[in-house]
Symmetry: C2
Subunit: 351 residues, 2 copies
C-alpha cells in the first residue's frame, strides 16, 4: 500500500507517547473521578454528558485554507460530534476564544462567531456563555453540555464478538479536501469557489471540500441507533480516521474485527482525487481523519430487525465488517486477510 | 490620589471597548439564549451553573513570577471563584491545556496538574475530563459545572437602595504580591522563598505573595450568605478589583453607593508595601485586582439578624458601605465625599 500519506500525516509515535504519558499521569493524579479523561465525553450523574476540546491555529487549522465562517462551523461541529459519539443530544455550548489583538476589530471574528452560531443553531444547541481573551495564536475552546438518550449511552468499550461493524458514511473525503486546499489555498476563500459550491455541479471536488470545511456531526444517526439498540453496542466517531476508530473500539472492548475492504464507503470524488495524486483511496479512507462519521458495533439480530422495521432509518448505517475474538483488526479482500491495522500508525491534524 | 498604578495597570478604554463591542455583537448574534455571556456563570435549567475561562501566558500570568504548581492552583481557584460569585457550589471541572511541545516531558506540566488537582480537591470539585494540545503559548482553559443553593442564586443586578455593602476580606494584597514578584522573580520559585512562606513568620510580605499566588475562592462564605438571605441581595467577586465590582453591581442594579474609605479592609503588609513604593494603599485596594474576595449587597435587617444569630459566620463579611439611589459610587471620608469611582478606569491583568 502506498505510504506517502502516512509519512506526512501520521503522528510520530514519540509525540503521541508523550501526550499519552501525560494523560496517564494526570489520570493517576486525579484518581477515579478522572476516569473519562481521554474519552469523547464525561458521563455525569443526571444523564449529563460534557466534552471540551480546543482547536489551535497551525495545529488544527490554517486560516490560509479555511474561511472564518467555515472555521467557526467546524469548531462547533467537531465538538458536537463528541456528543454524537456517545449517542447523546447536545444542549448547551460555551465558547472561549483566544485571538491576536489585531483580529478584535476585524470582520473575521464576527464571521467566526457566525459560523459557530449557525452550526449550534442547526443542531439545537444554545450558546450560553464564554470568554474572549488575547493570545498570540487564534484558539477556539468549546465546551458542550448534553444529555444521554433514556435508552442508554454507547461507549467504545462494549463491542462483543458477533457484532456487526457499521458506519454512517464515506471516508477519506475530508482528507482529500484538505489536500486540495493545501494545493490551492484560494479555494477556501468566500467569493471564490466555496461560496457557490453547494449549488455548483461543475466543481470537481466540491463534496470533498465540503466534508473538510463543513463536517456534519451525526447526531440524528446516533440518536436513532441508541433508540434501536439501547446500550448493548459500541460507538465512537472517526475524528482521527477510520483506522483509529476501529482500533480504539477493538482495543478498549478486547475484541478483534474483520473489515471488508470492498465495503468501506469511499466517494467517487475521493477516489478520483486519490488516483490523481497516485495514492490508494483506501489510504485516505483509513488514515485521512476528520470525517466525523460514526463507527458502531451492534448485535446482529438487532441490526437485522432494524433493517426490517425501519429500513430508511437503518439505511443511515452501512455494514463493513464483523467483530470477532481475534486480537487484531484485519482488513479482508473477500475471505483473504489483506492487511492488519497497525496500532502504531495514527492520524494527526495538519501540523 | 497617586495614579502611578492606573497608568501601568488600567486597561486602555480603547481595548476594553473592542472587547465589549465584540461581546455585544456576539450576544446579538446568538439571541436570548446567550444572555449570560459576560456574566460570571451561565444559569441553566436544573439549578446548573456553568462557567468557562482561560488563562493565557503573558496575558494572565508570567512563568517568571509563578511556579507551575501555584499557577495550576490559581487557574482552578479563579474559575471556582466565578461559582462563588453566584453563591453556587462547584461539582465538576474540565481542563484544556495548550502547551509548547517542549513542556510535554517536563516535570513542570505535572506540577501544573498537581496544582490544578489540589485546588479542585480542596473545594470538592471532581476533574472529569479535558484535553491537551500543542500551542505556541501556554494556555489553561477550565470549565466548571456547579449547582445553585436551593435558597436561590445571587446575581449582580439585584442590589437595592438601603442594602448594606459587605466584603469577605482585604483588598490590594494580591496586587502588592504581583509587584513584589515583578521586582524579585526568584521569590516565586519553589525551594526559594515561597515553599516555606506559609510557615515563615519572618518573610515580610508572605501574606501578599500568598494572596497573589494561591487565592482562595470564597465558596463557603457565599454559600452561608445565600443560605441566610436567599436571592434578595447582590453578589460578585472582585477578580478585577474592588472598584470594578462596586461599579458593576451599581450599574447593573441601577443604584449608587456610599463606601466608607476607612472601612475598606487593607492588610498591614499591603499598607506597608504601598507606602514603601510611595503609592496610596487605597489605590491598590480599589484597582489592584485579583483579590477574589466577594462583594455583597444585602438587606440591612437580614444583615443585623445574621450578626445576632450567627456572629461567627456573619463575621466572614465586613460592612464597608450602603446602597443608595444616587447615580454614582461615592467614596466617603466620614460624611464627606472624597471621590467618585470613575467607570472608565478598570483593572487589567499583567500585560
Amino acid at each position: 500500500m502506498n505510504s506517502s500519506i502516512s509519512q506526512s500525516q501520521c503522528k510520530s509515535m514519540e509525540f503521541l507517547n508523550k501526550e499519552q504519558k501525560l494523560i496517564a499521569k494526570f489520570k493517576s493524579l486525579v484518581g477515579s473521578s478522572g476516569r473519562f479523561i481521554g474519552d469523547d465525553c464525561a458521563l455525569l450523574p443526571g444523564k449529563m454528558l460534557v466534552t471540551t476540546d480546543t482547536l489551535v491555529e497551525l495545529i488544527h487549522f490554517d486560516i490560509d485554507w479555511t474561511d472564518f465562517i467555515d472555521l467557526g462551523w467546524k469548531a462547533m461541529a467537531v465538538n458536537l460530534s463528541d456528543i454524537a459519539a456517545m449517542a447523546g443530544r447536545p444542549k448547551y455550548a460555551l465558547i472561549v476564544l483566544s485571538a491576536p489583538e489585531n483580529l478584535y476589530e476585524s470582520e473575521k471574528i464576527i464571521s467566526l462567531y457566525e459560523g459557530l452560531n449557525s452550526c449550534a443553531q442547526q443542531y439545537k444547541t444554545a450558546i450560553v456563555g464564554g470568554d474572549i481573551t488575547r493570545g498570540t495564536q487564534l484558539a477556539i475552546t468549546i465546551t458542550i453540555i448534553g444529555e444521554t438518550h433514556e435508552a442508554g449511552v454507547l461507549m467504545r468499550s462494549t463491542a462483543q464478538a458477533g457484532d456487526i461493524v457499521a458506519v454512517t458514511g464515506d471516508f477519506g473525503a475530508s482528507a482529500a479536501g484538505l489536500r486540495i486546499l493545501q494545493n490551492n489555498p484560494k479555494a477556501a476563500k468566500r467569493g471564490d469557489l466555496i461560496v457557490s459550491f453547494p449549488a455548483s455541479t461543475d466543481l470537481q471536488y466540491g463534496y470533498c471540500l465540503q466534508q473538510f470545511l463543513r463536517p456534519q456531526p451525526k447526531l440524528e444517526e446516533s440518536w436513532s441507533l441508541v433508540e434501536q439498540i439501547g446500550s448493548r453496542g459500541a460507538l465512537m466517531d472517526s475524528s482521527d480516521g477510520l483506522a483509529d476508530a476501529l482500533l480504539q473500539i477493538a482495543q478498549s472492548s478486547h475484541v478483534g474485527m474483520h473489515i471488508d475492504l470492498n465495503s468501506i464507503p469511499i466517494h467517487d470524488q475521493t477516489r478520483h482525487f486519490a488516483e490523481s495524486i497516485n495514492i490508494n483511496p483506501i489510504e485516505l479512507a483509513l488514515y485521512g481523519g476528520e470525517d466525523y462519521q460514526l463507527v458502531a458495533c451492534l448485535p446482529k439480530d438487532k441490526w437485522l430487525a432494524w433493517q426490517q422495521e425501519s429500513p430508511i432509518v437503518a439505511n443511515a448505517f452501512k455494514a463493513i465488517g464483523t467483530v470477532n475474538e481475534s486480537p487484531d483488526v484485519q482488513l479482508m479482500f473477500g475471505n483473504e486477510i489483506a492487511y492488519k491495522l497497525d496500532p502504531q500508525r495514527i492520524f494527526q491534524h495538519i501540523s
